[in-house]
Point group: C2
Chain length 453, copies 2
């Protein structure tokens, strides 16, 4: 049988899309700079069994599969490769269970992050991982990339909340890995291995996540304005050294503030050149005061703290709006380095130097509290020379992160954009371990080929 016939037998005809415009729309994530190939079809299964049949069909015919959630990734991990089937999980969007006694939820991969958060809140529960894409990105995509977010500085990343997965393997088997219990060590940590593997080892069809109780205390917001990136960075290092664990510690620089102001007219840039937005959710006034003291002693030109929820929401929305605001100015090349927290000022200084050396605009937002920096390189649309300079700055920043004992990707994943950097970070022996595992679980190499390794 032809592949198209086998595929047609795998799921209902309305779940197979070959319209070139629709296929093209599903052929890229948000990494504007990453290349994308030409898919042969888009499939949108309704259930795990259909996913299994699609994978089995592709395995039989050696057709590459590129799984995707909402396509909000920033590394090209969900970009089409030539001749692939795009396997969109966004139609599998049911919350299957919220168990309040066990504090867990079971969801299909297409459930949008904010929707799970809202559903959990109805039970007094909380799903912490909160990537900036949370209004759109899916739990399946979050798990595939081990997504981070604002809360990670205190509450950890997606992997810390994934208890178990249902996965379709490259062999076309539907399996369950992980557990529902609070603890469990029966065998290798396969659930942890699939999390963050960006669709290269299996296709996630169901996720069991651990939930926390909703925090009881209303959060306090602590704002510091600084006259330079480096002095804001010093405040971040001071917070780390103080031992305070804020529930958020975000950095937004003047480029981002102005871009948001130009778009939303919020008057943010009047507050200062660089803002640090801290949050304390323990209800402990002393902790909030200590955080503010870290800001002041590092040279904040202005600082304040408040329990006003609206004010806080406005400030944190500036953080979330920074990326789309910059995208209005031209294609954005998004960095995602993570360095030891004490080296945040040094890394920020180096980023500024690279902006000057390579003559590019680099805006900065950062999950500063865990050292995860997002320098955003913006070039005028159509300026090929600027684009080439941006590429050089991009790679130079990755090398500096490695030199400082950091990583080339704190939370966005490797995809296509960080392959060179990841190889430099891990070295040949560790890459060999990756290849061995990839070959073991996907011997024919049909799952998201060319991504990560």
């Amino acid at each position: 049988m032809q592949f198209s016939e086998v595929l047609s037998a795998a799921l209902p005809s309305n779940r197979i899309v070959t319209d070139p415009d629709v296929v093209a729309a599903y052929s890229r994530d948000q990494a504007a700079w990453a290349p994308a190939g030409q898919a042969v079809a888009l499939v949108r299964p309704e259930n795990a069994e259909q996913v299994r049949r699609v994978v089995a069909a592709c395995a039989e015919h050696r057709v590459p599969i590129v799984p995707r959630g909402a396509g909000t990734g920033l590394s090209g991990g969900a970009n089409a490769v030539d001749g692939c089937v795009l396997l969109a999980l966004d139609g599998m969007d049911r919350i299957l269970e919220i168990d309040t006694d066990e504090q867990l939820a079971v969801v299909q991969p297409g459930v949008v992050n904010d929707r799970l958060r809202a559903a959990a809140a109805e039970h007094g529960l909380w799903y912490p991982p909160d990537p900036a894409s949370s209004p759109w990105s899916t739990i399946g995509g979050n798990a595939a990339t081990n997504a981070g977010g604002v809360c990670c500085v205190k509450y950890g990343v997606t992997r810390d909340y994934v208890l178990g997965l249902q996965v379709v393997t490259a062999a076309g088997d539907l399996v369950r890995v992980g557990r529902r219990t609070r603890k469990g060590v029966a065998g290798y940590d396969l659930a942890g291995l699939f999390v963050g593997s960006e669709g290269t080892l299996g296709v996630i069809t169901e996720i069991t996540v651990r939930l926390l109780r909703l925090p009881e205390s209303p959060p306090m917001t602590i704002v510091g304005a600084f006259d330079s990136l480096v002095s804001a960075g010093r405040a971040v290092a001071a917070v780390a050294a103080s031992g305070i664990t804020p529930s958020a510690l975000e950095l937004v620089d003047r480029y981002c503030l102005r871009a948001v102001d130009d778009w939303k007219n919020m008057g943010l840039a009047d507050l200062g050149d660089v803002l640090l937005l801290g949050r304390v959710d323990t209800g402990d006034e002393e902790e909030a005061a200590a955080l503010q003291a870290c800001f002041d002693e590092a040279g904040a030109v202005f600082s304040t703290r408040s329990t006003d929820a609206e004010e806080a929401e406005a400030l944190f929305s500036a953080r979330r709006l920074a990326y789309p605001a910059l995208e209005r100015l031209g294609p954005v090349l998004t960095e995602d380095v993570c360095v030891p927290r004490g080296l945040v000022p040094e890394m920020l200084a180096r980023i500024e130097r690279h902006a000057r050396t390579h003559d590019v605009h680099i805006a900065n937002i950062a999950h500063a509290g865990d050292g995860n920096l997002h320098p955003l390189i913006v070039v005028p649309a159509g300026d090929e020379e600027a684009r080439a300079r941006a590429q050089l700055a991009f790679e130079a920043i990755l090398d500096d992160a490695i030199a400082l004992g950091g990583t080339v990707t704190g939370e966005h994943g490797v995809g296509l954009l960080k392959k060179r950097g990841m190889h430099a970070e891990l070295g040949e022996d560790v890459l060999a371990l990756h290849r061995a595992i990839k070959s073991a679980l996907d011997p024919a190499g049909i799952l998201n080929p060319g991504k990560i390794i």
Copy 2:
């Protein structure tokens, strides 16, 4: 060259032991019921390079390697297999670094858990994972088995604290996996995969662990005494449903209390038939009162709470002494099932039924708050019939844990004792994934062969 010559070239002669008595002493962990084979030699390397050379020598000659820490395991994971080299990491016991700003420590595998805890405390930091073996067990062994402990109900298990590892692979390469930064998604989660793999995928030669700040509030201890296992279990389920997260919730039954009393004359059994020991470390009196209310409403015959550190220490030491106290009565077959927290009363009832059905004594201690139960089957020394009945009860308990949606091992690992149970729990397809990964990372099968799979 003969293997003995190659091995002699790998490390100093005083680091190779062939004295049969010493080799025999290193040939078993604490799982009295698990079989152990005959090793050809014991090696005790001083550094990672010596480990690498030993593994390379064994790889060349296809000699099995059984790595071990302090030998406090309870599943036979460190037991010798015939013809193996016992690779004892207990001599590599240096704390290499404690970084207060980044809140991490770097240690050699032979560092004893309590020693790391004490060293961290000198810096105001805390390494939470606290297996009952913490005065003797090593961080390397804790990582290899993904050890749990009393704190896990609130603070998680060893894997939650391991940031990075240095590992000798089966190929004899010395590699670093994981990271030093707070976040990082460059490649597969190999550090997480090696944690809990019980020496079957690589030999851990260095561990980087995340530390927390020492809790500031003195813990409050909440004690409840119950007249039956099942009513204590109902209190555990009530705590889970209440959403309270105690920092400990331990169960000790009358068999254990009496065994400790007989040994240490502590008068514990006078308190009640079954004790629940809760701990709250938030300084929140209301939370402590709510925990006590869960005990009372579930039918506690007596309950109290206190901030007296000595009193608390006495009660929790009874928990820690239970296992050695029972061992004085005869060989102990240790269970380690974990079930959903709401099903703790049901699982305890089934354990009691199995004790009656199979006519064996089953004592119970439990990390009850996370559903992790340790039924301890004690038989008179030399009573082979009782031993056979105990084996039947052991396997029946595992099957019940699986039937209740639980796991056959919450924290001790699979080793030898849980292989049948793990196979039943995971099923053939998931086992195939395990075998594929094992073959990929250890194609010759020299690393701790016969353990887990």
